[in-house]
Symmetry: C2
C-alpha cells in the first residue's frame, strides 16, 4: 500500500502544448500490457537531461548521452518497460540504437533526434523487433491530453501512476508544468530517478536546460532512497516546448524565472516523493533532516546512513521507537571527527536524545506515538556548523522482501 499517495485524476493533469504521448502494447515481456510509450516534441523544443552515475549504466543511457551530445535537437523519446537493456554489452547498444532508427524513420528525423529509455529486468536481450513493430500503433494513438496514460504505461513494480501538474502565469500567459515518473525499487538515484519526464510549454533559453535538469534532480530525485540500490537506468528529462508565448526566460533571478522554477521544482519533488511513497513494501514516509553540519555533503552522508540502515527501516515498519539504531547509524556514517556528546535527536517534535544520551524528559510513550504515524520526520542536530540537508525514504517491510524475492516469477 503506498503511503498517502493516490493517482492524480486525469482532469487535474494539464496537457503541455507541443508534447504528445502515444502508448501501445508491444509485448516486450508480457502480453496485454501497455509497455511502449512514445513522447513526441514539436520542433523548437529544448531538452535537458541527467542520467545515472552507475558505471554499469544501461545501453539506452549510453545512447541518450551520445545523441544529446550531437546537439541535433531532440524530437522524440521511446520508452519501454519489461526490459532494462542493462548488462547487455555491445549487443544492447545495437538494439537501443535500432529502436531509435526505427522511430526516426517513421517520423522522418535523424536517429540522433530520438532518445531511448528502458526499464525492467536486467541482463536479458531487448526485443527491439517487437518494439519497432509496435511503434506505428503508438504513433497513431499520440495525443496531447495523454499524460495519465503515459504515467500508467511506464510503471513496473509501481502500484500508483505518478503524475503531477502545476500552472503559473508569466507575463499574462498561462504556462503549464506536467511531469511523470516511475520507480519503486532499486531506488537511490544518483542524478535522477529510474525514469522521470517533466515538460513545460514555457520559453526557456536552450542554454539553461542542462543546468535546469541538474538543479531540479539535485533537490528532488537525488534526495530520495528506497533501498540504496542505484539503478542502471536512472534518467530524468526536462522539456520546454516554447509554446506559451511569454518573453523567454534567460536567467532564473527574474520574477517570472523564480515563479517558473518554483513550479518546476514542486512538480519534480512531488514526483520524487511519489516514488518513495510507492516504495516497494513501504508503509511509512520518512523525512530525514540533518542540521548543524559543516557541509551539506556531510549532512547527506548522515541522512543516507540513517535512510539506508535496515535496522532503522525495520524499526519504523514495526512502529518501535528503538531510536538507538538511529544514533548508531549517525555514528557509522563516516564523519571521522564526529563528537557524539554534541548530538541531539528529534522524532517529529519529540526530543529523544540530547548531547549524545537519552534526554531525561523523554518518555517512550511519546516516541511510540510518533512512530504510529504514516509520516514521520527524523531530525538530527550535529552541532558542528550551519549546513543542513533532507532526504526522503520509507520503511522496510516483509513486503519489500516478498516483492523482490518474487520479482521475476
Amino acid at each position: 500500500m503506498p503511503v498517502n499517495l493516490v493517482a492524480t485524476p486525469a482532469a487535474e493533469l494539464f496537457a503541455v502544448p507541443g508534447v504528445r504521448w502515444g502508448i501501445t502494447e508491444a509485448g516486450v515481456r508480457k502480453a496485454h500490457r501497455k509497455d511502449l510509450a512514445v513522447m513526441l516534441l514539436d520542433e523548437g523544443s529544448a531538452v535537458g537531461a541527467v542520467f545515472t552515475q552507475n558505471r554499469f549504466c544501461a545501453a539506452p543511457v549510453q545512447v541518450c548521452r551520445e545523441h544529446l551530445a550531437q546537439g541535433f535537437g531532440v524530437r522524440a523519446m521511446v520508452i519501454n518497460t519489461g526490459n532494462a537493456n542493462a548488462g547487455t554489452g555491445e549487443d544492447g547498444l545495437v538494439r537501443a540504437r535500432s529502436t531509435c532508427i526505427a522511430l526516426a524513420r517513421l517520423l522522418e528525423l535523424a536517429p540522433e533526434q530520438v532518445l531511448p529509455f528502458s526499464t525492467g529486468v536486467i541482463m536479458e536481450p531487448l526485443p527491439s523487433d517487437r518494439i519497432a513493430a509496435g511503434l506505428p500503433q503508438a504513433l497513431d494513438a499520440a495525443l496531447e491530453d495523454n499524460w495519465a496514460n503515459a504515467a500508467q504505461a511506464i510503471m513496473t513494480t509501481d502500484t500508483v501512476p505518478k503524475a503531477f501538474s502545476r500552472r503559473v502565469v508569466l507575463g499574462g500567459h498561462t504556462v503549464t508544468v506536467t511531469g511523470i515518473s516511475k520507480g519503486a525499487g532499486m531506488i537511490r538515484p544518483n542524478m535522477a530517478t529510474m525514469l522521470g519526464f517533466l515538460a513545460t510549454d514555457a520559453c526557456i533559453a536552450p542554454a539553461l536546460m542542462a543546468d535546469l535538469a541538474h538543479d531540479l534532480a539535485e533537490a528532488s530525485f537525488n534526495r530520495v532512497t528506497v533501498d540504496g540500490d542505484t539503478s542502471t537506468n536512472d534518467s530524468f528529462v526536462v522539456v520546454a516546448t516554447h509554446k506559451a508565448g511569454h518573453a523567454p526566460i534567460t536567467a532564473w533571478d527574474s520574477a517570472d524565472g523564480q515563479a517558473l522554477k518554483a513550479a518546476l521544482m514542486e512538480v519534480s519533488r512531488l514526483l520524487a516523493q511519489a516514488i518513495v511513497r510507492d516504495g516497494e513494501g513501504a508503509t511509512k514516509f520518512i523525512t530525514v533532516r540533518v542540521e548543524g553540519g559543516k557541509s551539506g555533503a556531510e549532512c547527506r552522508q548522515v541522512a543516507y546512513a540513517i535512510a539506508h540502515s535496515p535496522l532503522v527501516k525495520t524499526a519504523f515498519f514495526a512502529s518501535d521507537p528503538n531510536l538507538g539504531r538511529i544514533l548508531a547509524a549517525v555514528g557509522y556514517a563516516g564523519i571521522a571527527d564526529l563528537d557524539q556528546s554534541r548530538i541531539d535527536l528529534y522524532l517529529d517534535d519529540v526530543l529523544v536524545a540530547q548531547q549524545g544520551g537519552r534526554y531525561p524528559g523523554y518518555a517512550e510513550a511519546d516516541g511510540a506515538r510518533v512512530m504510529q504515524q504514516s509520516e514521520i520526520t527524523v531530525r538530527v542536530l550535529l552541532g558542528r556548523g550551519q549546513a543542513s540537508d533532507t532526504v526522503w525514504t520509507c520503511d522496510f517491510s516483509y513486503d519489500y522482501v516478498k516483492i523482490n524475492a518474487d520479482y521475476r516469477s
Copy 2:
C-alpha cells in the same frame, strides 16, 4: 535457521590454561537468563584488542580504550547481555566504570585492570547495580573448562553459541587456541565483531598483541557483514596467558610463529563466519570474491556493495539467478573509472557475464542450480589489476524483517 552451523560440542572446546570463565543470571533485562559473564586472566597474561569505528561508540568501548591505555595489565573482563550501554551519554560512562570498580574490589585489582563489555538494547540505562550484585556469584562459578557456557552466556539474537578450538605444538609444547563470539544483526564490523574473545596459552611478546588483534580482525571480523549496520559495541580481544612453556614468540616469521598465527587466524575466521552463518534470518552463506582490482580497498568496495544490496540479498533468498542486480551493484560501488566492458561475473563455476554482457553460453538453468545451494561464491573479475579480496555475507529474508521488527517486544 543458521547455515551449516552447529554448536561445537563442549568436549571439542579446550580450556586455555590461565583463563577462567564465571557465568550467572543477573537479570539485566529479563529474568532467568545467563546474562553476565566474567573472564578472569592469570597474572602475566598479555592482551590486545580492537574496537568499533562507530563514532557513537558505546560507554564500555570508551572505558576499555581508557583502561588499556593505562597499561596496568588486564586481569578481568566483565560482559553483560541485554543492554548495550550505548547512546547513554555521561551517565553511561559512570555506570560502565562502576561495574569495573565493583569487580576490581572483589578481585583486589585496580579498576583499570578490568575491561567492560555490553551488548543488547541501545539507549537505555545500564542496570549496573544488578550487575554488581551478580558478580560474587559469577566469581564463585569460575572454571577453566567453561568456554561452552561462556559462548552461551554472551548470545543475544544468536541462535547458536559460537566457539572454536585448535591446538598446535610449539617446541614440543601443546598450545591451545580457543575463542567465542556473538552477533547476528547490526553486523558490519569495522574493527571487530559485536563481541569476540580469543585466548591462547601461548607465550607471545606483549609488544606484539595490539598488532595481532588488528591483523586477526582485519582478515576475519572485518570481512563479514550481515546488514551493513556497524555496531556501537564491536569489540574483539585476544589474550595470551603465557602458560604453555614454549620459547616466547617475538616475531611471526619463525616456524612456530607461523603455526601459531595460522591457528589464531583459523579460529578468528571460524568465529567471524559463524556470525554470518547465524545472521538474522539467514538461509544462505555467500562468499563474495572480487579479483583483478587495482587495490584491495577497491575490491572490498565492490564486494561490500554486492554484500549490502537488499536486491542482491533478496534474490539469493529467493534462489533467483537475477544476476543483473549484482552487476548493478558493481556499477554503483563508487569506482569512478570502472569500465563495464572488462567485467566478468561467475556464480561458483558458472560464467554468467563476460565483458559486461550476458555470456552467450550462459544458461539460466546453470545459474538456478547454483542459487539453490546453501553456500555460494560470487566471483567478480574487474580486469583492472592484480589485487583481490573476499567478504562473507548472508541473504536477506522475511525473518530478518521479523526479527528486527519484533526485537524489543
